[in-house]
Symmetry: C2
Subunit: 344 residues, 2 copies
Amino acid sequence: MSAVYGGVEGGGTHSKAVLVSAEGHILAETDGPCTNHWLVGVDNCINGINDMVQRAKIKAGLDPDTPVCSLGMSLSGGEQKAAIQKLIDDMRERYPKLSQSYFITTDAIGAMATASDYGGIVVISGTGSNCKLVNPDGTQVGCGGWGHMMGDEGSAYWISHLAIKTVFDARDNLVTSPHDITYVKKAMEEYFQVSDLMGMLPDLYRNFQKSHFAGFCRKLAEGGSAGDALCQHVFTEAGKALARHIVAVLPKVHQDLFSGELGLPVLCVGSVWRSWELMKSGFTQVLSEAQAHGYSHFHKYSLLTLHQSSALGGAKMGAQNAGASLPLDYSANVNVFFSHTFNQ
Amino acid sequence: MSAVYGGVEGGGTHSKAVLVSAEGHILAETDGPCTNHWLVGVDNCINGINDMVQRAKIKAGLDPDTPVCSLGMSLSGGEQKAAIQKLIDDMRERYPKLSQSYFITTDAIGAMATASDYGGIVVISGTGSNCKLVNPDGTQVGCGGWGHMMGDEGSAYWISHLAIKTVFDARDNLVTSPHDITYVKKAMEEYFQVSDLMGMLPDLYRNFQKSHFAGFCRKLAEGGSAGDALCQHVFTEAGKALARHIVAVLPKVHQDLFSGELGLPVLCVGSVWRSWELMKSGFTQVLSEAQAHGYSHFHKYSLLTLHQSSALGGAKMGAQNAGASLPLDYSANVNVFFSHTFNQ
């Protein structure tokens, strides 16, 4: 068959695979479950990836026993060198018909590669969160991405946790809730099917599933849209937290990234950004404060969202690593959903 | 054999078992590993308990095939009714020679039963943390005790986490550390045997062991005693956090508990209290502020520590539950290590 390049987007709840022709056309796409190896283990991760790509080959009418030229994976949890080398070694050994070559990058870098070859800031907020600045010269500066035990600020996990912790602390009289907890407590009891706080312990320990826990965020988004003040509060806090990640990397942003038509481009990836309207006040407040305190050249920023899965950027990087160049039409992949120009 | 009563103290890192005669004399004591069923699972929990008690029988010269009259267990994680009933059912089925009857209470209530039959406030800070008010009429009000995913403020886990998170946030430029991180970063790299922050991920996820993570707190205590400002800071914050648990239950404290010679008795349980000198300023500050804001009858408090394992209180409650009364000399079990009288 003619050259086919594979790409994978691996999230903390869902994953996607894509096959791309040498001309940059999408031949097939498939879906799968969480492939974050920190969350599901190495075996589940590589089985899930193999399964998605093999199904995509069949869907595209290709022979599943013929390896693709390259497989570029944009994985949440794809950062630690030793761990990703082990993933690649295990895939090579166990699935020799999957691909001729392998490349793994983080979900943030894969998303950026889908949107632009010029750089910008990626802010991921899905099950977990992460932020990465990519400068025009290719240098990268990260903030966050350490997972729920050491960060994930502003993610669906974090929003769910903040809301639930507010209920626990109110019950304990440890911290007074800023708003009535009635809606959140009831939504929590329904979502986790518990009758009291003690009933939450299995969901927090023995049966803990990050993606299920983070899924409660959807109920909070519904509550926020319906006007519940505590739900709105936790999303405002998430907006602040995500903006703080941008502020953290601002000192390292190359001057050229500020000066385009869009101002500083911020690529927003992950399902939590669907609740942008709930996060907007907290997000814009933190960026405006940072701008006012010493970033006079930071005159404008724009928030972009992807039309395509970052599996596409993964495929591009995987091909590049194998010596091929996939032409991508970046302008068709992104959309500006918010712009703000600061008062000078 | 004459009547023998068993008691267990189950912690997040270590456990203890004790056998007591009908006269209240200790016949044997044994040690074991973590028996918190949320952390190690039901099987490891009940195996560990059976092993400790059977070894104690042999140590006391008793027949290990003869059940003790009762086994009273004071367990960290011993709160949720359904979970503790399952523990008891499994023990009965798997170890019919262990004991004739079973009783499980929390580590906090077991500690209080070791110290007094009049009540007071127990504040546990070991691997995890918990606070329980026991009024003279036996009524209880709790704060905390939800484990590391939803609380544990002021515990060894929490102190370790706060210090490590400060290093991560400083590296990310997300939050500026209040003090130099050099000592804590180096101690972390040594304790966890990692060369960078990325290396911490296995310790946080795949190989996470709460007791090992919490054990880093000892290195922080050493740093604090040697004068490191960030180590001292995290312990000051722990002191504040533990005091806030007391403030949370203050509105429910029965008047009589304020009026004894010691003022409000606070029983301090767990290894973190060994670092009292490092926590003192934060702890006393929070209680003084609370007292100044509306608790004029709260004129004095005393901090007490146990000489005996709370396995002894567990044994007493287990015996009581089986219809027997163990005489304990409370005055020999406790020691006042700090008292404070507020300026009126």
